[in-house]
Symmetry: C2
Subunit: 596 residues, 2 copies
């Protein structure tokens, strides 16, 4: 039943992680319903199996059933765990932190003389993160036997088989060498799992169970064991299944449920049919910056034989599949190991390559932050490309909303940060980073397909620190970057004109950490005010570079910063942009209220 | 001879790492002089054994002998490796990156069809960093047999014995489980090391040699084996020996050298005696903020039983020894595992403790940057304390000069960043962070003893976002924080008055990421200009918060930012402050030239 509810939740939300919700769900259900007492806690370190856990929490009565309709809604259940949800004890979604968190909880319990076991679920791809191994050491040295880690060893990570991405080798030997009590069982066999827990319960060491599971368990065509072992891409890691897969999966689960209930002499379940909510499928006119990047990267790679691309298990989402196909020798898959990837790129650059390093912006800018700085001190040239930048998509929640990457990278000496505003600017800016930038750079990419109400002049070429006026206006200059901000700024300028009689100029400034002061002065001087939009926390965003330039010039023109000021919510894109004040109407209201 | 030169270099510089220079020096010499060909490279991942390696490079003729007099001088040899020095192939000093760097070099060599082995020295304490384990995986999967890692297993890390800080357990079993070819030998026995290298040379896997060494090898009273195994602190990890230890050590090495030469029938060496340079010992009036912090922490801990302190192998440098003695149960030693430490603190805070997390500012703000954000999204209360903040001490070089921590942390939602200006303000700000701050905070501590030419009013209490005028003036308002900046600002204000006829107000603003706009406006409005000093990169420093507040008010008062703009050099404190334009005369010159 949990599987059916998890499937429904993901289908309705339009996104979510079915494969790993299903692989871990037998264990999660057992723990919640049979094993844990009031003192015990459970959490998932990987976090993207949240829909399965929510379904179990709903089954256990901790969460209200109505929430099944509200996965990834702003007033519902976040895409990844957040402690605002009953039953969630810690925020997860960025990988490798779970055992460390559990240790902190255990030490606190001991200091406060509180009992309680701590069960932590991890992924297997997650074990590629160095923090996992870092965290094992003191757990063993401190003898934290109250911690039980369960590795949901479903053999697949984001893109494909773990062994093809970054083989774990002899996992049990590794874990034993780190001083943990290690057991192994079939993680989709509840009896076997329960027996394993019992067998190790008195061991004085922290415990880890390698649970062999099937990704997508419970729906025949979603089970990874139905795939050939050389399959390039497992289709049910993330995202919602299409309508026909959805119906087939639901039917298979419902049939099995009815058969099981009937076998147990229990009345058959009744199922309700709901209208599928109107799809928010992107318009045909939407531009896809990641796809544009794929093409632009290949064009540069054809010209530069020393260009290599590095990936951290996001080959699909970062647009690297065409590159990998065309230049297999120049593609390096690093696994979910961002620190290692960045320092590897550093070594490559020292030896004459031009490395281009890829991951989601939230991870790339922060997990290997010290490693990026170390590279920067060597003054080599490396290009970092962070996709999934900004506050939308809003579904995954704060672990994936990259709204702190500009601040985390802006002070890197010699590094230029850019964000393209449309397909055409992707290629122009990559070209600038490869061929003109004196040092390293960071390209911030919006991953959402986005309909863009402006276009760049045919002869437009990016000039460091200088922007481009997309819409003329005389009262207020709105400066922004990227398709999400700029399209909302254009729309806001129309609201301002029609509703408030304010004439707003909209400027695309793709340079995030450097502003040409002379250009800025000449562009805004005729206006009465400047508005800086940031798809980022206000602190450390592009607005700070603008304010610095204006302050140095003593311009006296009043500036309003509009951006994120607190942890953004998880929700639909429309909900989240509205909540953080970055949709067109919120922008217009703020501008009118400050400068009206 | 290398040992003697390394000892001399460290003695003359007044700081450096003798213990680990000596433990690794037999291996380093052998590699450089006997093993490596022109295609091979060597580097040390730990990097603080640089003086020993410099001595070997001087012996090999790669570096000029005159550089022995210039360790940690701006025109000499940096405290940690920098590729600006011949013989240095990568920048190190922040731990755990070496194997990743080597992999990048190896992959680049293969792509370019270049031969060459890569030898990487690591520490043993360094193995506590997760990146080390993260980096082993793909080296094994890619079969990078050209990489040989040598673990300088001298059994001691920064503070004391590795086994007491964070026991490595069965190190060989761990390394084998990660798929590497593992060998072990006496690392101070050149013949044994050479034989080990030969024995494993044809193994198709990447290779690691666990080299059992003696920390301080070659000077009897510096050898760790002369200590009891329960000694709390090894005295020759960092810093220069005092005069009497220096003379005794030099004499012991010289005597052995002469005996060896004599035994080999070689003419005895002649030694030159140089005058010891005037000591730059801190004045008796110098304030010690870390010591003040130690006391303030204990005062808070006595009031708050839920307060716990976490350390990452810097118990001496972060001032935690008194706390550990008084509250052993509330002290958690995490080893060199900053990511783990921060997430452990997160778990503690969730379970009702008030964790105070300690490390050097350079490491604490960046290595666990994503982990700090994860904690911030949970809205618990955690205090992070970064010592060794700022551009001085200048000796250790860029890996340790924390001039990017404000930018790296300023956008953390709910987090307040503060830097105390003197002993008295340390306690006041810690008190604010513990008792008044609504959320988490970061205390940025200058570690250098510093003579401070101002004092705070007896009734001064910190108010969030508001500063304190230390010296009155009417033309220019200089806003700064911390003892290094403020003492130079006070001195600069005197130069400005005497030499340029400019009257400068000096303001202590201990709040680094939030400025009270009303206070700011009223404090600077009578001045013709504002100068923001940052012991930090200009981008993302306190100056950005000030510029943002002034721009929002449309003040029109011109602002000049003075701070760091490129990777700072390694050198004496005087040299480095001058080079980055933050000593009194440079500040005065800049202010006069901009606003004179």
């Amino acid at each position: 039943m949990c599987r059916l509810n998890a499937l429904y939740m993901i289908g309705r939300a339009g996104s979510g992680h079915i494969g790993s919700s299903f692989s871990s769900l037998d264990i999660v259900s057992w723990l919640l319903l049979e094993e844990m007492t009031g003192d015990d806690v459970y959490f998932s370190s990987k976090g993207h199996d949240a829909p399965g856990y929510y379904a179990a929490l709903i089954g256990a009565g901790t969460l209200d059933f109505e929430l099944t309709h509200k996965l990834r809604q702003i007033d519902g259940l976040p895409g990844h765990p957040d402690i605002g949800t009953p039953g969630m004890v810690t925020n997860t979604g960025s990988l490798g932190m779970g055992v460390s968190k559990a240790k902190g909880m255990a030490i606190a319990n001991r200091l406060k003389n509180r009992p309680g076991r701590i069960f932590v679920m991890t992924g297997d791809g997650e074990l590629q993160e160095g923090q996992f191994w870092e965290s094992l050491v003191s757990a063993a040295n401190f003898g934290l036997q109250e911690i039980t880690v369960i590795i949901d060893h479903n053999k697949l990570q984001s893109d494909t088989f773990v062994k093809n991405v970054s083989d774990l080798g002899d996992l049990e030997a590794k874990l034993r060498a780190f001083g943990w009590c290690v057991a192994r069982c079939d993680g989709n066999d509840i009896a076997a799992f329960a027996a394993t827990l019992t067998a190790i319960q008195d061991d004085p060491r922290p415990k880890v169970i390698v649970a062999d599971t099937v990704k997508g368990k419970g729906v025949s065509f979603m089970e990874h064991t139905s795939l050939d072992s050389d399959v390039a891409m497992y289709r049910f890691h993330s995202g919602a299944p299409d309508a026909s897969n959805y119906r087939a999966a639901a039917q298979e689960i419902m049939d099995r449920l009815q058969a099981n209930l009937s076998g147990a002499g229990i009345t058959a379940l009744e199922f309700e049919t709901l209208e599928r909510p109107a799809s928010a499928a992107p318009s045909e006119k939407a531009q896809r910056l990641v796809a544009a990047y794929s093409k632009a990267l290949i064009a540069q790679a054809e010209k530069h034989p020393n260009l290599v691309a590095l990936d951290a298990d996001l080959v699909l989402d970062t647009g690297l599949i065409p590159f990998r196909e065309q230049f297999p020798d120049r593609f390096v898959e690093c696994g979910i190991a961002e620190q290692d990837m960045v320092s590897t790129a550093g070594g490559m650059a020292l030896n004459g390559l031009l490395p281009i390093v890829h991951s989601f912006a939230c991870f790339l800018s922060t997990r290997p932050n010290e490693q990026i700085y170390n590279n920067a001190t060597e003054k080599t040239k490396i290009i970092y490309v962070g996709s999934l930048a900004g506050v939308v998509p809003g579904g995954p929640g704060h672990s994936h909303q990259s709204v702190r990457d500009i601040s985390a990278l802006a002070a890197m000496p010699g590094m230029t940060l850019v964000e393209p505003s449309c397909d055409a600017e992707v290629g122009l800016l990559l070209d600038w980073c490869v061929n003109e930038a004196p040092g390293s750079s960071y390209i911030r990419l919006i991953s959402l397909p986005w309909e863009i109400p402006y276009s760049l002049p045919a002869d437009y070429r990016p000039t460091n620190g200088r922007g481009l006026t997309l819409a003329e206006g005389k009262d207020v200059a709105i400066i922004a970057y990227g398709p999400v901000l700029l399209s909302n700024a254009i729309a806001a300028s129309k609201v301002l004109a029609e509703k408030h009689g304010i004439s707003a100029k909209v400027i695309n400034l793709p340079w995030l950490n450097h502003v040409d002061a002379e250009w800025l002065q000449s562009t805004v001087s005729a206006c009465k005010a400047v508005v800086c939009l940031d798809n980022h926390y206000v602190i450390g965003g592009q607005g700070d570079a603008i304010a610095r330039a204006l302050a140095e010039a003593g311009s006296g023109i009043p500036v309003k910063h509009i951006g994120i000021t607190e942890v953004p919510p998880s929700g639909t894109n429309v909900q989240v942009l509205g909540a953080v004040g970055l949709d067109a109407s919120a922008i217009a209201e703020t501008v009118a209220s400050v400068f009206g």
